[in-house]
């Protein structure tokens, strides 16, 4: 029951937001004081072009973990409508060129996973704890399994 409802909620969110991963957990303090470690962001991937000031989640080639930062520069091409984007963390001193792939100056549309539209504090700590202390995850799964077995009515 718990598993299926979780799956339904996840797939439902995917459908509504149009993003492959509709929820992300903030892992670093680079957007403080806006977002702290452990906060949850709801993403939305619409057809609207990206503009400065928006907070986007992007993937960089060669990095596994997506990054959540603010767009500070946008250049939109006259003929092709392709865009070049530069991002920066609110709490970082410089822009993100050092985080991009070697020699990469701009992000393009295909790097962007979605833009942050909503915010829920603290809840992400659950997943952070589970990934960093796997033992707690196994204990929790074990306890839930036990619950399922014992709570037959």
């Amino acid at each position: 029951m718990i598993v299926t409802s979780a799956l339904i909620i996840w797939k439902g969110l995917m459908y509504v937001t149009g993003s492959e991963s509709p929820v992300v957990v903030v892992l670093s303090g680079s957007m403080e004081p806006g977002f702290k470690r452990g906060d949850i962001l709801f993403l939305h991937m619409s057809k609207d072009p990206i503009r400065t000031g928006e907070i986007v989640v992007f993937n960089v080639d060669g990095r596994e973990i997506p990054i959540v930062h603010r767009v500070i520069k946008v250049h939109e091409r006259q003929d092709t409508r392709e865009i070049d984007i530069l991002t920066k963390g609110d709490n970082n001193f410089g822009d993100d060129r050092l985080l991009y792939a070697h020699g990469q100056l701009w992000l393009q549309q295909h790097h962007i996973m979605g833009r942050a539209v909503g915010f829920l504090p603290y809840v992400g700590w659950v997943t952070i704890i589970m990934t960093e202390k796997p033992i707690i995850k196994y204990l929790l799964i074990g306890a839930l399994g036990l619950l399922v077995i014992t709570s037959k009515e």
């Binding site: 500070i72 609110d90 709570s151």
Partner: protein
């Protein structure tokens, strides 16, 4: 039947659900507080370019500009009980033969408190205005104020306001 694990599970599920509902309710209520629904008319601001500090062509051929600006902002009306911070920035916006839109953040500031939301200051551009190419001589540039309201929980809101425009000089400094 009512084991400790059972109770913990119920408590956890309930607390997460409660947090989600509160988050939704906060966004819902925010929609009714008038400043957010039509914020541009409630924000008073002005920004003028006082001086062009530097205007040159970089070695790679891109134009680079550094500006000195006078900024005054009154955003007190954006603060409600659910406002954590307002991220405000000035952007230079212009069009060139190559790019239909260029948006470049020049200066930004985080307002954490309603008491700090009304101020006037002279600033140098924090980030240089760098064009993709060499199209800036004599170019008309709009100075646009953008703001991004971050709630304690719920939906984030952003808006913008065109403040002024100016023409860059015809020659490099």
């Amino acid at each position: 039947m009512h084991s400790a694990v059972h109770r913990m599970n119920a408590l956890f599920t309930f607390s997460v659900l409660l947090l989600a509902v509160l988050c939704g309710a906060a966004s819902f209520l925010d929609a009714f507080t008038s400043p957010l629904s039509s914020s541009s008319s409630y924000v008073r601001a002005d920004a003028q370019v006082l001086r062009v500090n530097r205007f040159r062509k970089q070695l790679n051929g891109n134009d680079e500009v550094s500006l000195n600006l006078n900024v005054s902002i009154d955003m007190r009306s954006l603060f409600t009980w659910n406002t954590k911070q307002v991220f405000v920035f000035l952007a230079a916006e212009y069009a060139t033969p190559k790019n239909s839109l260029n948006q470049i953040s020049l200066w930004d500031h985080i307002i954490l408190d309603k008491d700090q939301a009304n101020f006037q200051t002279k600033v140098n551009s924090k980030y240089p205005l760098i064009d993709q190419g060499s199209n800036l001589r004599g170019r008309k540039v709009d100075i646009v104020l953008h703001w991004h309201v971050m709630p304690k929980t719920g939906r984030m809101v952003r808006d913008k306001l065109l403040l002024s425009d100016f023409h860059l000089p015809e020659v490099y400094t």
